[in-house]
Symmetry: C2
Subunit: 407 residues, 2 copies
Amino acid sequence: MRSSACYDPSPENSTWLSSKKISFLPLHESNTRQILTLVTTGYSPPLMTDRYSFDLVLLGFGAVAQAFVKLLMQRSPALGFQWRVVGVATRRHHCAVSTEGIDCKTLVNLGTTGELLDMCHDSTMGPQPASALEVLKQLSELYPKRSKENRMVVVENTPFSLDKGQPSVDHVRTALTMPADVITANKGPAAFAYRELSDLATSRGSMFKFEGAVLDGLPVFSLIQETLPGVRVERVRGVVNTTTNYLLTAMERGQTLSKAVIDMQEAGITESDPEIDIEGWDAAAKASILANVLFDANINPHEVKRKGLRTVDETDVRRAHQDGRAVKLIAEAKRHSTGGVATVAPRLLEASDPLARLSGTAKGLVIDTDILGPLMISKTTSGVTHTAYALMADLLSIHRLRTLNVT
Amino acid sequence: MRSSACYDPSPENSTWLSSKKISFLPLHESNTRQILTLVTTGYSPPLMTDRYSFDLVLLGFGAVAQAFVKLLMQRSPALGFQWRVVGVATRRHHCAVSTEGIDCKTLVNLGTTGELLDMCHDSTMGPQPASALEVLKQLSELYPKRSKENRMVVVENTPFSLDKGQPSVDHVRTALTMPADVITANKGPAAFAYRELSDLATSRGSMFKFEGAVLDGLPVFSLIQETLPGVRVERVRGVVNTTTNYLLTAMERGQTLSKAVIDMQEAGITESDPEIDIEGWDAAAKASILANVLFDANINPHEVKRKGLRTVDETDVRRAHQDGRAVKLIAEAKRHSTGGVATVAPRLLEASDPLARLSGTAKGLVIDTDILGPLMISKTTSGVTHTAYALMADLLSIHRLRTLNVT
């Protein structure tokens, strides 16, 4: 089936190719006052630039990618740019390519029901590609030279192996080389190959963004880089993994780790195999990213000093809680003479430590700075929509950077 | 005395007027890796643009303005732009103007010892101006048409009256009209006249920035506007006033309000007259700013529903603390059908409320969002350096926006 779809913020146009009209859409809501507000306070929403369009390629189409597409569809009128999905790659549900745009309602329905994506592929594009790299290759060959107001963005959300972060590192490398911009909530690329990939992005004029990789939708890198100019960060430490924090909260109430794991699996809160989280690998990947980006560490998760939750005595967790203190699995990255270093370990936190208050699915990061002392950013809940939002925020940020022209 | 000084990031040049050399200075530190990092993650430090210069006019030269000048002097090599002070206005220590640049070491010394600023005035500029508005007028007349790479920035830090926010509103209005950019840690302008001043800034192509007015150096507006694109904020509530929070923490330990006030005055932590804080006026001004900027409220502090600390029963504070709960003076602003509304009142917070943990000089804001639920940003300490940093962050932000050219 050949299907075509794109999302145009001006409701009277169903495709940007046929439209000449320039409409005027602010980022937050359709409200002139708000535009003035934002401009005045130094923030530039995408004014008069909603002819800008993104061609999205989804590598991996699991829960996060599906939530991302749904969120984009829902927020389309306010995004300030047009977008369409031109490629999708999955491991078990096949791949699809259509430079005219894949119908996203159909795509989301197939994702929800777990059906094959064959009907989304436009056979005039050539044979159905068999892998993520083949999708990228086919799109590279199919595409004419791209206009200044259209950009390919690869949305990387495939599972990655713990040994070398593959295949996600290869996916990002290939995408940045095309050159396409990359947004990802995947920890693999920045945890295993941040320096190489960021150098590659610079040399190719691409952008590599992964705001959701550490704290879902909570801003970390944009917070430090955009809102704290001139501040030197010395150390960051945080509660970054939902599974282990949820388990520790259950243990505070007197449950054993094994029982808490079973309850969590039954409630559908954790993956079927939570061992990667329990052993601290997820937190180690996040600590590696923090050390790589903030302290130029060039390390991978295997170089993070790591202790998992199985080293914790359940009685200690309960006692600490009764004393007003808390045991938390803390990921930490800090500045060091040799670059950055990172550790993951269960820590006994005093009641006065703001991280001690993050229970259940809460997450947060304490940022030690030279000028402002310790700052903290946190949120109470987590979920797949938050991660999907982080991808949307990355896309909005790319749009803003590629359309800003203040001077 | 005619003195001249400017701060040039390239150490071999003492004035930018004589220098043709383009040097290469990143925002955070002189490190190519970091530049690549920042560019790659979408952040653009001021590359090859350090010929950009700011002419600063200091309206008010109290503790915050002095700390700001000291911080700029200290951080000059890493700022990425040049700056000099071309005007200073004080109420009791006279005013000074010098388009060649006032010597900042002399200026800071005079500020520290509380001496008159007469020796900083360049008499070839005309008679010594007698007020802040006269300083602005004299500078308007003295200045030739400004180059594209030089910008006047007025740094407003005068005390403001509680009835109408004057004279700070007049100062900002005059400055934006010149047109100069305005940075301020003063609550008056945005609390009393945000809509008028932001409209004026837009129409004059000026920038009006006040990141330090609500939470000292902690980012609030840049956090919401730059790092949370597409998120709709429904409500913000926070601990925003140091004096009252410090007093409440003392009351938790069993002190009476009167005794705590005396101790605080003796320790030099609060102004000689803390009544403005105790009655909730400082928090009301901050709540007004939050409602005006985030929810388009167009209100002033008199329209904030306000209850001060004198309505609090000391026993309640102690008991709440013993139960693990806390009484806090909470400033709140929320979205409303008629725009935004704001309140200030002492509230009994449950132990699970993250604001309940902000003791002493800590500050923080909970931001209720549509997509991410409640987020929180907080810091442990406060101080004049934090407020001075907020002014520097505003200046760095203006520099970034005025030199960015991504497309």
